[in-house]
């Protein structure tokens, strides 16, 4: 294992982990505070990516298209919350799974109807298409570094929001004791809508940033949704800190798994077995991680509810 | 002859000792009342006795056998039965079926996949007998969720009796009851005297003084006194402050 490869994979893992955190943060709050299993969270990510691609094409600038798309997705998210999802908070998990599953079907098909079945082009802005020397002799794509920067900034901003503001206090109170949050008054509805809007905006940001790296296509939301759920469960439902740790853990384990497990297996096992088992093991590494965490701590690493 | 022996039981939550070296005996056939102010640790103690909470130290013996490490269902099969302070029934079952489910727990294996339980008349007959005994016979076909609070409490007792226990642990059976309902519950428990060994947790002092053979007083996780009713009563007069406060 060369140092260059190792550093590169570390950065890849952190970059992917930070983007997972953007999704997982919203998911864990909605989960912990409103007690809603929102399978359609990934659809907001998809919508964010599609809007970014469209608005970037329309305005000719990624830097203009991205914030517009983030705002638009936040508005869509808040409308969805106020019009529909709000009525699911008091329902059982099964109803929530059914309703948000239905939303995924609708969102995916509507996306196909509007944008077609082909994936949309969304390219790394020219300015960022080069690479930067992170260590002497070790180059790393500038755009991925930007993702790490943005992800870190957003994580810090969220940290301040959750720990230092009144809104954050209410949210934390809600995650640890829902009745208390409900008892705190009428503006709880507005708070929920706002939290949902922020979650949607974070989804859109992740969709926009990852769009140029992965493909902007129908179904992109579900793939990452499950990873985000894994993150939430590993971190402990309702805990933003847990989501952060879980996201980095999942990002790094997944990246390292894919990069190193097949090669490592080949060194120890017969080639036929290694070729068969390597990719499987790499693909399931994060699920194994989750099962191990749940086996050891059935409430996740940072249980928000005592 | 003791049926239940609790020895030096300790349970801590964080730094707080909710159960702080408790010793407690329940003799065969007696009604043993456990009293104490709110927050004394009664429910924590009961949960450890029943096996839903693991103690940090100490032991629990049942008929001479150490059951400290056994799970709740294993203890139940040995002869523990519990009624809950906060009603805990099967709301979508009828009253009769609630009791049938409890009877079924002690009559042969329930890993039976083919024969309808409804055709096992033995189960329903045994359940009806228990409903008769607990004064619920007329409500047999009602859904459990439709019952009044007092009836819920009666059904709690019926479920406990249906498992044919030797030790009955009744956690505040009179909680939230009116005078008339309380009186009915007192006579129901009176009727169980001698047949079962009973550990009775109760706030209603009149009921406790009428029913109990012996009383243990739990304060701040420790048993501060155990003895016959008269003795504790005398003692209790000294502690008028505590009892007065508790009855208010």
């Amino acid at each position: 294992m060369t140092v260059v490869l190792f550093v590169e994979q570390c950065l890849n893992g952190i970059q992917f982990g930070l983007m997972l955190f953007l999704l997982a943060a919203g998911l864990t709050l909605v989960f912990g505070v409103m007690d809603l299993i929102n399978l359609a969270h990934g659809s907001l990510y998809m919508i964010g990516a599609y809007l970014t691609a469209t608005l970037t094409a329309a305005t000719g600038s990624f830097l203009l298209g991205l914030p517009l798309a983030v705002v638009a997705t936040a508005v869509i998210g808040m409308a969805l919350e106020a019009g529909l999802l709000r009525h699911l908070y008091r329902r059982d998990h099964l109803s929530q799974v059914l309703a948000t599953f239905a939303l995924i079907m609708i969102a995916n098909e509507a996306t196909r109807a509007i944008w077609g079945v082909q994936s949309l082009p969304l390219n790394v802005p020219d300015v960022l298409s080069g690479s930067v020397e992170v260590l002497p002799g070790v180059g790393y794509p500038a755009y991925r570094l930007l993702i790490i920067g943005v992800g870190t900034l957003v994580a810090l901003a969220l940290y301040v929001l959750v720990t230092r503001t009144r809104m954050g206090m209410l949210v934390r109170a809600g995650a640890s004791n829902r009745d208390m949050a409900t008892a705190m008054g009428t503006d709880i509805r507005r708070l929920f809508t706002l939290v949902f809007g922020i979650g949607a905006a974070l989804c859109a940001l992740a969709g926009a940033m990852l769009g140029p790296l992965l493909a902007v296509q129908v179904g992109m939301g579900e793939n990452i949704l499950i990873l985000a759920f894994v993150v939430v469960v590993i971190g402990g439902i309702g805990s933003v800190r847990g989501a952060f740790v879980g996201a980095l853990l999942v990002g790094i384990v997944d990246t390292f798994g894919r990069a190193f497990i097949p090669a490592t297996l080949r060194a120890f096992a017969p080639p036929a077995l290694a070729d068969a088992a390597g990719p499987s093991l790499a693909a399931i590494s994060i699920y194994l991680l989750m099962v191990m965490v749940l086996f050891w701590k059935p409430q996740g690493l940072f249980p928000a509810r005592g | 002859m003791n049926l239940l022996e609790v020895r030096a039981l300790v349970k801590r939550f964080g730094g707080l000792a909710a159960t702080d070296g408790v010793n407690l005996d329940v003799r065969r056939g007696e009604i043993h009342a456990l009293i104490g102010p709110n927050g004394a640790g009664k429910t924590t103690l009961i949960s450890q006795v029943c096996g839903t909470l693991q103690p940090d130290a100490g032991s629990i013996l049942f008929a001479g056998v150490d059951v400290t490490r056994l799970a709740a269902d294993e203890r139940a099969r040995l002869g523990f039965a519990r009624s809950y302070q906060i009603t805990s029934l099967f709301p979508s079952f009828t009253v009769l079926d609630n009791v049938v489910l409890a009877v079924q727990a002690r009559r042969g294996s329930s890993f039976r996949f083919w024969r309808p339980a409804a055709e096992e008349t033995g189960l329903a007959d045994a359940a009806r007998e228990i409903l008769q005994q607990t004064g619920l016979a007329l409500l047999a076909r009602r859904m459990a969720r439709e019952l009044s609070h007092g009836e819920h409490r009666q059904l709690e007792i019926a479920l406990a009796l249906a498992t044919q226990p030797s030790l009955l642990i009744l956690d505040e059976p009179m909680a939230g009851m009116g005078g008339e309902e309380s009186a009915r519950m007192v006579s129901l428990i009176e009727g169980l005297r001698g047949t079962y060994s009973i550990l009775l947790v109760e706030h209603d002092m009149d009921a406790v003084f009428r029913l109990a053979d012996r009383i243990s007083v739990l304060v701040a996780g420790r048993i501060i006194a155990t003895g016959p009713v008269a003795e504790i009563r005398a003692d209790a007069e000294v502690r008028l402050a505590y009892l007065g406060e508790d009855e208010a």
Partner: protein, 326 residues
Amino acid sequence: METSGTLPGARLERDAWWQRAAPLAALALLVALPPLANACGQEFYIGFASRVLIMGLFATSLNLLVGTGGMVSLGHAAFFGCGAYVVGILATEWPGKGELALLAWPAAMAASAALALLIGAISLRTRGVYFIMITLAFAQMLFYVALTLKAYGGDDGMSLARRSTLPGIDLASDVSFYYVVLTLAAGSLLLSGRLAAARFGRVLLGIKDNEARMESLGYPVYRYKLTAFVISGAFAGLAGALMANQNSFFSPNMMHWEQSGIALVMVILGGLGNLWGGMAGAAVFLVLEEVLAAFTRHWAIGVGAILLAVVFFAPRGIAGLWAQRR
């Protein structure tokens, strides 16, 4: 409370005559379907009906878990896919003997049951949302493992050379295959009904209602739940084996989490905990899909909208509507 509509086992009284007659009428109709379809020149519907019955069997197996036992699994497709892969792998590796239905189908059930034992043993230590997520995680693992099985088509899946063989019955014929599926589905439904009304089913219902109380009554709850999980997995495996035969094809998509989601949708649509819920839900879902697809390419929007309407206006599914009418 209309108990017969919601909890078949929670009540010891007998159904009204027409409630007992309805299944027989449905069965008669299903038996008569192939000749009717042939007479109308609509052979397509025979294959379609087989698909409905197979998905209905799959959903019924999930209903035992979710509706009777209260264990909400979002990974049931793992067992469905496992059944299909066992049939596929046996047929590929051992042409001839491996294609014997009497060998391959029980093997599929056994393999799915074993898998369920393993997954259930770990998953059932968690509860609620964590249980939902851990079952999902296990199913995803199998999905990714299937993706990398290059010898069996990788992510494209693989076609079967032909359907399994049964002595005396030509399964290659869609009509014969339909009758075999119908027999197995009816048998499974009968079994599932007996199970729900027997002691075991009532214990499961009790666990769904109040798990802690079941424990304090002396029931080893974990063992009952695990047994239900294994039985449910075995029948999902049978459904998977049949589906691989119906389509002469198996692929990782059969294990995709969307498949688990659809099964859950069918169960809720039909009626949670209702004996007929799985079958009714599968029929309504697939017919809906078919009808809407005739009108628009974007039928999924319509299906989604109808599902939303069910959540908000008929939370107890079709069985709930049925019970309210009485």
